[in-house]
Amino acid sequence: MVAAASPVSRTGQRGLTVSPTFLARRRVVDRTMRVVLFLSAALSVLVTGSIVYVLLSESVKFFTQVSIIDFLTDTQWTPVFQDKHFGIMTLVSGTLMSSLIALVVAIPAGTVLAIYLSEFARPQVREAIKPFLELIAGVPTVAFGYFALLFLTPIFQIFIPGLASFNLLVPGIVMGIMILPYIVSVSEDAMRAVPAELREGAYALGFTRLQTATRVVIPGAFSGVTAAYILGMSRAVGETMVVAIAAGQQAKLALNPLEGAATITAYIVQISLGDVPHGSIAYLTIFAAGMTLFLMTFVFNILAFWLRQKYREVY
């Protein structure tokens, strides 16, 4: 920017006048904005730092009262009862069960849709469908919760007699629909990054579209598609309102998807709704639970980031 300023001042000497105070002020503004913009970008690092700090510092207080071995091995989670147990695996089981149901719905549907959009649909069709998928992603999660509890569960109960009114099956399916647009967009992205030459080569060998998709495009986009599944899992694990509304609040080992069970997120909501005194053991549990959740999603996110980076390098 200094280089751009100096020719102007030289022409200034030849007749055109550029006030030196203007140039000085301009330089101050430019330098200031540089710093302001950098600080804004650096703020995001501060946010992550604060998240880790808050979760860690409260979790440390929690683990001075509860042993980490009990936390990881106890099979009961009853922090607000007389007989207190702190087995996080109880909540983790609910979280994993509902997320796996979501993946069972979203992975096949998402993969088929992504292949369809990337390899079969004409561009006009694709441009019409993608906004529709974005609309699904725009629906508030609390609305999906209402839909799961008061619309879908009664319908499912007609076909599945043993289904409780609070269960993990229906919220899991609804979460599958919620993460579908995400899985489709990330995996379609990866499929479209596969070079056209590979497809053309396959067509020239007499491959059909489907054969090209399954034997050339998917192997080529493998790491990106895997990243999409992992990101979908991460979303499902962190999803809160659907399970808080429709999966019930009872913390127990989730072995049967037809019954309700609390997830990590639903537990945090349940405790936050009550009046919990600051520093009490119940208050500390939501941070320990939150730390567990954060670590789970963090591992998924980093794994997916690394996988996506990998396919970007290949092509």
Binding site: M1, A4, A5, V8, R26, M33, R34, V36, L37, F38, S40, A41, L43, S44, V45, V47, V54, L55, A109, V112, L113, I115, Y116, F120, E134, L135, G138, V139, P140, T141, V142, A143, F144, Y146, F147, L205, T208, R209, L210, A213, R215, L231, G238, T240, M241, I245, T265, I268, V269, S272, L273, H278, I286, L293, F294, T297, F298, N301, I302, F305
Partner: protein, 311 residues
Amino acid sequence: MKPLAAQPSRRFSDAEIVTRAHRSDRNFALLGLGVLILTMIVLLSLIIDFMVDGLGRIDLDFLTSFPSRRAADAGILSAWVGTALVMIVTTVLAVPLGVAAGLYLEEYAPRNWITHLIEINVTNLAGVPSIIYGLLALGLFVQSFAMGQTILVAGMTLALLILPIIIVATREAVRSIPLEVREGAYALGADKWQTMSGYILPTARPGILTGAIVGMSRAIGETAPIITIGALTFIAFLPPPPVQETFPFINFDWLNSPFTVMPIQMFNWVSRPQAAFHVNAAATGLILLAMTLLMNAVAIWLRYKIRRSMR
């Protein structure tokens, strides 16, 4: 690649192979369409369910009444006012910060480990569950800074939550501007910031606006982080008005007021066993749904217009 057609051709004629291949192609296309239609049916039935349950409940009284113990008297006045005020705070904080960060990463950032760290960090933040932001706000804003459960804290929390969305949208909008625009500005003697403020930011404005709208629609429907900071569900009063008759006419007391928002009010009603409250929840949900879908539609339309003007 192994010769794929070689094996079956011993058993089938060439014509049969081609017909079979075409059939499997068509079947897969039908499967894709089927999945798509099924998804559409789910979204449609969600919208229709909310209309059937809630449309009849929406009237002027519902919008101008406070929540009540009797379902028929209850309304969402404090909830929609709370949502509007929280959204003002969120937008005012998130848009300038997000645009500044996006602009820095795209136009200023040197290629070094600090930039790399910030980039990985933004990607990771976008994947952090919203309820974790709620815990951050509870531990930091509410407890450590003793700011209380106020509109300001809720707005700040949601601003942090949608920051990655706005950063990514800004980066994409800025990246799509041709290099010639920058070179032209420099050739005219502009310095970096003049180029940014005079050419890059105005050109990127529609793209940034799209990101801001998507971020706001996400924030409007977000429930979990606001529950976590401990917002009350039963609020039968309004925050102090932001404008007043006497000097200086603007009043910021509302920032420190307790509040509720529409998704929390809806969650509260849906959690009750009585069906009459479920009707209230559906009505609130329908309004929320209409707002978020409308905002997303505007964003999609904007993006479509940008793409057409680029060609």
